[in-house]
Symmetry: C2
Subunit: 359 residues, 2 copies
DNA sequence: AAAATCGACGAAAACGTTTCCGAAACAGAT
DNA sequence: ATCTGTTTCGGAAACGTTTTCGTCGATTTT
């Protein structure tokens, strides 16, 4: 069991003081070329690595950020994380990662763990339930900069990188209306889910703009436990809708997985998408391109959002007091699941054109 | 700018020594009820959090593990990460995360960063190129326990949680053979990619067992840069295969994304899957269930593998010297992309049956 | 030749904890 | 009265660094 090698070991081996060794390794000025060379060689020989804990403690600077997402294997969050890590690596930040799993207590535990570990900043995509939580206050009290991603917290003016969710939903629903759909259902998440409500607003706004009365029977709440169950929830919600007397002719789902459930039901009932049932999802997740017909969906540029979140956090860390908030413009990715009439008539977007002239 | 509150602040406020405060907070025995109560109250009032850096430095125990994966937004790795985090949270371990992006230098940087941060252990899914690397030697020299996940490193007896890749490929290819396919192509990754080679072996073994001659023209190398390009690579590789004189009648792809590219080409050429072209992928990623027809693929239980990796790491940390290695048995998930003949004849697996009796 | 400057290094304090050791205060036993 | 033991607390060292300050000898300036 070999002890960790420290400055002391190098010092003793070379018969110099610890101070000198430190100076040599950090390339300070008042040291001679020769001793410095000897120190570097010996450090290499002994495989010395500075103890970051001691360094940070002494210098009182901790190059560490904490990232909290509801779930790391959720596609969107994994892309946000990737964006953060892209930038963090460039700036030599250490990245701590924690999952809230939409559990406020766990979220709190993770935050306190991060606080104890002296993170210089936090990027958090709060749990769906966070509107009821004051977990972020912990960071405020500790004066730890943080950036909220994707889920704006109610009545908070915290720096935030978000997406124009209402408008995304608005574009989706208006697109359906323009395609001739009139009875558009909304598959939502829990009432406390901030983004679900934001999209709900866009849904209603689009209906209102086009003088289509809002029908509460066309709104179904889905219980989003994990990745796997979402499709099933979408399936059952759509089933309820389609077995009712007054059936919708289109589905707008709060995410792509629920939309996939609608696909399954359409298959069972021999409904043609988009002819009998238009479908639009949300998030542009991987499956959306692979569903058949390809699913119209709302883009969510996770990597860019993550990268910007890190940039904002760095600004906040260095004391930039300006309002660090950005709302990404919503963009609808129109694919075949919502194009009524001949698909050939529709001028496909770049997204679909990739393989167009390859054969 | 409020300073971080430490033991000293509590001590001064209460007119006791730092030692006493520490004892009070850690519930040591030699302290009176009253002072302890006062200390706890004051600590709460001042919002005290122990400085984990100081604690770890003093106690010389760092409850921290590092996780290195090629890419966090790759579905399989994100599930492995989730498995690790499930367990880590239960054991109160801090999780550091780093990406190698299949870059050996970056992988090395991350490992050294982790070493400096005194991780008590590392779980790593090495870069594809790792067979040429000795990055893991850094950990060996430092006597830091580590567990390799998914990509066994050549000629290493490091603890490892892997998947029976050759057999997975064998099952896939044998299944195709049993379905009547005879000219089976393999879409592979780079030559240095360990898993690609392992699956290649299974592919060849299955052919050999059934006396089907190996045809090198049926093997195509795809350049896997990122998530997005894989499908395109699969598309072009399949295109080359299908435009040749001697066409294959089935594709076995080293991952589901390449298989999705084969789907695209089949669509372009109006080839029916599975009738004209059987397709089998690998990894059971989300898209595999959503492709149409659903893609036959090889299961990779990322969460379970991640959880086990953490368990192994803990064993290794507490000094368990037994051989901590587990190979998950390969399991083929048969879906419609490889079933020749009427799909109704095929007794669907549980995986597909979920919605069977729901309407 | 004395004074000032300079180059190279070491001693010690500090970061925020924990822990070992000892001390003070008080009780009961002799 | 002393002795022993218990309870409760404080002093100080230690963890591995960085940094401030001082020192010592050599070189340059006056």
């Amino acid at each position: 069991m070999s002890k960790r090698v420290g400055l002391k070991d190098i010092a003793e081996a070379l018969n110099v003081s610890i101070t000198t060794v430190s100076r040599g390794l950090n390339n300070k000025f008042d040291i001679s070329k020769e001793t410095r060379k000897a120190i570097l060689e010996k450090a290499d020989e002994l495989n010395y690595r500075p103890n970051a804990y001691a360094v940070s403690l002494r210098k009182n600077e901790y190059f560490t950020i904490g990232v909290i997402v509801p779930s790391v294997d959720h596609y969107f969050f994994s892309t946000v994380l990737k964006g953060i890590m892209n930038k963090a690596h460039l700036s030599n930040y250490l990245v701590l990662i924690g999952e809230s799993t939409h559990d406020l207590n766990k979220e709190k535990e993770v935050i306190e763990q991060f606080v104890s570990h002296c993170v210089t900043g936090v990027i958090i995509s709060p749990s769906n339930k966070s509107s009821y939580s004051n977990n972020l206050d912990i960071l405020v009290k500790k004066r730890i900069p943080y950036i909220v991603v994707d889920r704006p917290v109610k009545e908070s003016d915290a720096p935030c990188v978000k997406y124009d969710d209402p408008n995304g939903a608005f574009l989706a629903v208006e697109h359906l209306i323009e395609q001739g759909y009139r009875k558009i259902a909304y598959l939502k998440s829990y009432d406390y889910c901030v983004i679900s409500n934001a999209r709900f607003q866009g849904y209603k706004d689009a209906l209102a703009k086009h003088n289509i009365p809002f029908n509460p029977n066309f709104v179904k709440t889905c219980h989003l436990i994990d990745q796997e169950n979402q499709e099933e929830e979408g399936f059952f919600a759509t089933k309820q809708l389609m077995l009712a007397v007054d059936k919708p002719d289109a589905i707008f789902a709060v995410n792509d997985d629920l939309a996939a459930g609608a696909y399954r039901l359409a298959e069972k009932l021999n409904l043609n998408i988009p002819r009998d049932l238009g479908v639009v999802g949300y998030s542009n997740s991987q499956i959306s391109r692979h569903l058949k017909p390809q699913l119209t969906t709302v883009e969510q540029p996770g990597i860019e959002m993550g990268e910007l979140a890190f940039d904002f956090l760095q600004q906040s860390i260095i004391g930039n007091k300006s309002k660090l908030t950005k709302t990404f413009d919503a963009r609808l990715i129109v694919r075949d699941s919502s194009i009524r009439g001949a698909e050939t008539k529709y001028k496909k977007q770049k997204d679909n054109k990739r393989y167009a002239n390859s054969i």
